[in-house]
Symmetry: C2
């Protein structure tokens, strides 16, 4: 079933100078759809990346972590249908073979090739299926094609996810555009999430890494669908530097004041994609924003917000359009962070339902019910203890989530 | 829908000398069923207890924690339908009022009265409904009645949970019997779980507390249904000491060698009740035992086992009878404990499906599928790193769980 949040039309994503895309069908798992995408970058493209914190990462994640040290990228190959995770030596061989095919097809050194795979875990990936396909894609690659690329990397996603923003550096316009895929096994740090961002801004790899790390904290690392962390999470940001020709100064330091607008644009694109992932969470019918303030620290606020966002009882109550704030209290209580019942206040939308340790006598159940029937729901908690604040996003837990995940593989 | 594990008949629970039960209908929330149970203990009864680690505990939990310091109990009052949690000063007043009514009805000091409540959170509990009821119950109390008492404390449970075991101390027989209720918001430390154990063994409160703490670790604290921790979890163990008359020596120390058999019996009763809770987990169709061995420590083994047990993706796969061991790998990876992909082995039942970092080439999908269709499923993980080992129990995550929790309150 398509997400109720699926966009009816997509924004026309502007091409990023120095980036070309192509997609094809390698028959990895799916029939009659594209399942491999290739992105080509001009020489000198800088790259930054953030990966899953899983102790059992996929073979492509291991590969990218190593290559990232060089800071340069020429080629990105992504396939859907098979995650090449927990595939042992076979998986490492598959990654090497894919990189060799990509190197040959795109005339790039293997050290500048980045790979990502998403789909079933534990099944060997037959990389020979890429043979020939990558050559054809390298020839066909064109600057327009981000949306098609976003479609090729989908698994249980019900719509492709793209976003872009404009910024200026030194008074000259630059563009950031990107794509992402979800849609289950999504939790902070990161998620079965692949996201690829592209910019023409000339920013060195080290600075780029710092900027990306910061943007991720309040976007991709502030969403959760089901608390499960994937073996394959990969977020890569490629900066071609093509805007230098138009007079944009080269940026070597993340602290450079000239990139304030770029930083904001990067965060906006990350947040836009992160929200799209949540809205397309498996079986999701509701998009939920949870803000916790008044916590002892911002870290405590985020842990409490995530405890609420990950609670099956909170999520099923939201699916049932039930303003069950007792379960919010439960989730606050189990987070392990400082909380005092008699100082707590809880809002659904703009209606305060609990105050100073008990039900707010003034709230009207009918008004709260009206809020719960909306597709987007805001929950706010004030712990009344300190100044720590954090916002996270999640979706509801529905029967469709169970159905999707009860027979995904079989 | 009744759990497929619901017993068709219940074991006849032997009376515990010094304990009497009565149940009644106070009309707290449910109609046409009992919702309050009273247990009366002979003078000198010793008590031990373990409670939720929630930072927002219910008013009765606060009450019991204080009274537990005295180590003595005469009366236990438990109601279902309302948890009296997050009810602020009103909740504290309700607890005091209930205790006063119970003190009057049972001629016991308020300091020896224990209370527990389970049900909706955040709604004021009208304790005046106990007025009169407790007097009638005190008069009617009788040694037989454990099963009826277990029925009165049910919420979304589909069957009452009772268990007992015999032991010997100094060559003389003693009995431990108990009851529990689940069935959602169940996670270790503890769960929306109420459990009450009774024994005629003469064991001092302090020793009793040590014994209970140990038994809980491998039973009630090794089960999880949905990772949600309740505000109300209460486990109380009452020792009347009546067996002293039959020649059982008084036990003052938990290290006393004469209670080896008692310790084992206590653990057996705890484990029996804990398993019953899991088997009656909301919407549960499968009972799952997860053993992790070869971990760096037993703590690490338990955290990894719980990560598997709490993963929505693992639980939905089990609901779908899908031997999706890739999700087991995912859950191991996200646990944050040391794990090496290339040393991992995973079994469903007695079939090894993964070995040394990849799919076991020898396993037969049909055989594994047959295992997955069974109501009880054993998952075993060997991390190949050390000697740490732990076992936990959980159930699957079904559409019924979502249905039950999507309109429990409304």
């Amino acid at each position: 079933m398509t997400s109720p949040f699926a966009p009816t039309e997509f924004p026309p994503i502007p091409p990023i100078e120095g980036v070309r895309f192509a997609t094809g069908a390698a028959g990895i798992r799916y029939k009659e759809r594209t399942d491999v995408m290739l992105a080509l970058f001009d020489k000198g493209t800088q790259v930054a990346g953030v990966f899953t914190k899983s102790k059992c990462p996929s073979a492509p994640v291991d590969w990218c972590r190593t290559k990232l040290k060089g800071g340069k990228a020429r080629t990105l190959v992504v396939n859907s249908g098979n995650a090449n995770a927990f595939t042992g030596r076979t998986g490492t061989e598959a990654v090497k073979f894919t990189a060799a095919l990509a190197a040959k097809a795109t005339a790039a050194p293997a050290s500048e090739i980045f790979l990502a795979s998403t789909g079933v875990i534990g099944e060997p990936l037959d990389a020979s299926k890429f043979d020939g396909v990558l050559d054809r894609l390298a020839e066909a690659a064109s600057p327009d094609g981000m949306l098609e690329a976003a479609k090729a990397i989908m698994t249980t996603d019900t719509y492709p996810k793209v976003a872009f923003a404009k910024a200026e550096i030194g008074g000259v316009e630059v563009t950031i555009a990107g794509m992402a895929k979800g849609a289950g096994m999504i939790a902070p740090d990161m998620a079965t999430m692949l996201a690829f961002l592209f910019t023409d801004a000339p920013i060195d790899a080290e600075a780029l890494q710092t900027l990306l790390g910061k943007a991720v904290q309040v976007s991709f690392n502030a969403i959760t669908i089901d608390s499960d962390t994937s073996t394959s999470d990969t977020l890569l940001l490629f900066a071609t530097g093509a805007a230098k020709k138009r007079g944009v100064p080269r940026i070597a330091e993340a602290s450079d004041r000239r990139i304030a607008s770029f930083k904001q644009a990067l965060q906006n694109v990350c947040l836009d994609l992160a929200h799209q992932i949540v809205k397309d969470g498996e079986g999701a019918r509701k998009f939920v924003e949870i803000t916790v303030e008044g916590a002892a620290s911002s870290g405590a606020a985020k842990r409490i917000a995530l405890s609420i966002a990950n609670s099956p009882l909170v999520k099923t109550a939201i699916a049932g359009e039930d303003a069950n704030w007792g379960r919010i209290v439960m989730a606050i209580g189990k987070a392990g962070e400082k909380a005092e019942r008699d100082k707590l206040a809880i809002w659904f939308g703009n209606i305060r339902v609990a105050h100073k340790g008990l039900r707010d006598p003034k709230y009207d159940e009918a008004e709260v019910s009206a809020i719960m029937r909306k597709p987007e729901i805001r929950i706010q908690v004030d712990l009344g203890l300190g100044r720590g604040k954090a916002t996270v996003w999640t979706c509801d837990l529905t029967k469709e989530y169970v159905a999707i995940n009860g027979d995904y593989r079989s």
